[in-house]
Assembly symmetry: C2
Homo-oligomer: 454 residues x 2
């Protein structure tokens, strides 16, 4: 069944029903983004009042298109959607994205309209994303049927019951030079829901982590089954809107979802191995970490830093997250005291002091990686440190232990090095606290897999 | 006494003892930054081996400089510092910044050296920042005797026992187009400490908030006295390194400070009205909020949004922070239901839906501002919303209630508008959760002032 989603993510041709010449209109923005993302297969804008839109020949209706249509993106007022759907069925369209609002979220009448539209889809075997959603983006097939325009290919699959929440992660991943694998705004979940997508992305080779913003789960039992199976293959991250009472009331107004009892969700996430996070930045950071870093085999970390203060903030955060910071054993202490300046502080945190350069980091990390006392490394660059990227890249080849990088206070050098690292698949975290939270997600996922062997 | 710090923040002339021609060396970086920051008064590089450094005539020693010297920035190895200090005293230098390390942080010998150096300063009436510090930056007098180079003038005064932690806030404030008023890296606090600086910045017209990273307090009683007095005039923000046991041990290694019992610190902060924050981003966000926003008269907020999901995350965060979200009263409901489209959700959060534009926000906020049910507004822009800046700027002129702006998922429009807002003194927060935390700091400060009238 999930293979039928191919038409949505990798369509052989697209019709944009409600394409518009007017700048700023959704029907214009979406068509422009599909073009600018580099979609190179057949594109059919549908608009009875235009011969051509954004340089592409337009058609008055779907019926008038001479070629087959694989995916229809629908942006016309809701009352016209049923007839558009009938035309889609007639043309054997396989995938539908309804961006238009005015359905279940708009009251009783809209609810009926939605039921009617979904019926047509089911009857005709079309899969449908939406209605009332911010569309779908798949940089790996150069198709951004959404906004803003994000073309950067990366490993993060985003499923979001809020268009903006998903778009925010897309924007950050773009700015960081990381990119995404897929973005789906669920909207009213008329047909395709988070579970269909999780099943699909688990098999998608370009997706390495599945990051989900959800306000409510439609089918609790199926959720448990699918989540349990899926997390064996790929990490699933979840940020849940409506965890408080006031939040749950807001959820009801927003998507008519039942936010449900938060304790039950927490238990369900814990049992299935879904990693829950508490805020948007943690959601993004954990997505980066789970995409790119190996899972630590335990909770013991070594902090290596050029900035004492930042390391102290990291230490406080580790203690809060239950991450242990064992002292250097005698062997490691002896080795290092011979190879780095005596003013360095050979403890945990291991403070290389403010004049530390890449070779000094490398000396220390090379030895520490071999040491059995540590499962992970938090490497803090607290000054402009040229050459940090190459050094980390080389070290990564020598170990299966994750090296978590924090870069801060480094001005322009920091920006350059961070971008270079991201391009090489080395996630960089903006603060010690955020890095520790991300490491904590890695640890929790690794522990779940170890404690629940199939 | 504190006026004697003028030579450190607004020197009439500067000698850089240990200025270097070699790129990348601290003695070169600091001199370059002083020049590039636009310092236009007399500058005297001191280096026995150079005639000229970075285009400026160099002198072999302080004695050789024919003109008076107001501030000496010292970057020579620690063993030479005592004789440099003697020369400073002889030349009636008033302010000293010792960047060099190798003092109390380096063991017993260094401790003695530090005591000796401080003695010279005290005897001669010179004030001294450091030793072992990342220097001082005052964009308002175009003097960046520190790194990285930050020239952006703004309202945030940073006092930091960690160079990197302070530099991080500087970098973020630069990137946001906000800027800082002062930055002092305390280093070993040989003479000038956080209390001297708080007293000085309270009287500094360019500083609107005093943001302090501290690992330990030297004089608890004086801290209580000065903090209590100072917060009446200006907000003081504090992030405390070493709040956990492991963190406290790391503090001892880093700056030999006693991190102290964290519960006692919490109580001291609460009693004196110092606003404590838990992580670096909160530290920065609260600095922005307290610099630019009015204090709310109570804990009741209205969330106005174009993104339902982001508003739900804000709602959850408000409930966690004890911020109340009262429903719309009958009057406001009636007024708004006549002036905005019926698909908008007239609750709290007030959801203007995805196609909201600036005029729709304005209509709602204009009425809501007059309503007695709300003390503050959380305005979330969850899409590209052109014209948002002008709209918020106009509204701010009509009210004393703070409008907290969140902008996310808006791509390039978001970046432009955020920068424009920052330049106009409207702080923008990157996530709903960060905005709510910042609002919470505003509320806590306002409550303290109301509950503790002098």
């Amino acid at each position: 069944m999930s293979s039928s989603l191919d038409a949505i993510f990798d369509p052989k041709s697209i019709a944009i029903v409600g394409a518009s010449r007017e700048e700023g209109k959704t029907g214009n923005v979406v068509m422009k983004n599909i073009i600018d993302a580099g979609y190179s297969k057949a594109l059919f804008p549908i608009n009875p009042k235009a011969d051509e839109i954004l340089g592409v020949k337009a058609y008055p209706s779907l019926d008038a298109v001479p070629d087959p249509i694989d995916l229809a993106v629908i942006i016309v007022p809701s009352k016209f959607v049923p007839s558009v759907m009938e035309q889609c069925a007639k043309k054997n369209v396989r995938g539908i994205i309804i961006i238009s609002g005015g359905f279940a979220e708009a009251g009783k009448e809209g609810e009926e309209l939605q039921r009617y539209v979904i019926d047509i889809a089911k009857r005709s075997g079309m899969r449908l994303v939406g209605p009332n959603c911010q569309g779908v983006n798949n940089p790996h097939s150069n198709m951004c049927a959404s906004w803003p325009l994000i073309r950067e290919k990366g490993p993060i699959a985003i499923i979001s019951q809020s268009g903006t929440v998903g778009a925010t992660i897309e924007c950050w991943a773009k700015d960081d030079g990381i990119g995404i694998s897929k973005f789906v705004a669920l909207g009213n979940k008329g047909d395709v829901n988070e579970l269909d997508l999780i099943e699909y992305f688990v098999e998608d080779p370009s997706s390495r982590v599945i990051s989900v913003y959800l306000e409510g789960v439609s089918d609790g039992k199926r959720f448990m089954d699918i989540a349990r199976k899926s997390v064996r293959k790929k990490p699933i991250l979840m940020i849940k809107g409506g965890r408080t009472e006031a939040g749950a009331r807001a959820v009801m107004s927003h998507t008519r979802s039942l936010a449900g009892n938060d304790k039950i969700f927490s238990a369900a996430f814990r049992q299935t191995g879904v990693i829950r996070v508490d805020n948007l930045e943690e959601f993004y950071d954990a997505s980066k970490a789970l995409s790119y870093l190996q899972l630590p085999k335990g909770r013991r970390a070594l902090i290596v830093t050029s900035s004492g203060g930042s390391a102290i903030l990291a230490t406080d955060a580790c203690e809060s997250e239950g991450i242990k910071l064992p002292s250097l054993d005698n062997d490691l202490f002896q080795q290092l005291s011979q190879s780095i300046p005596p003013r360095c502080i050979l403890k945990n945190p291991l403070d290389l002091t403010g004049d530390a350069d890449s070779p000094r980091y490398e000396t220390v990390l090379k030895e520490a990686i071999k040491n059995p006392s540590y499962d992970a490394f938090i490497t803090i660059f607290g000054d402009p440190i040229p050459g940090a990227t190459e050094m980390i890249q080389n070290l990564r080849k020598t170990t299966e232990k994750p090296i978590i990088v924090v870069y801060l206070g480094g001005g322009d050098v920091e920006k350059e090095e961070s971008m270079k690292m991201h391009r090489l698949g080395i996630p960089v975290f903006r603060t010690p606290e955020r890095a520790v939270k991300a490491l904590s997600c890695l640890i929790r996922y690794g522990e779940f897999l170890r404690q629940n062997p199939f």
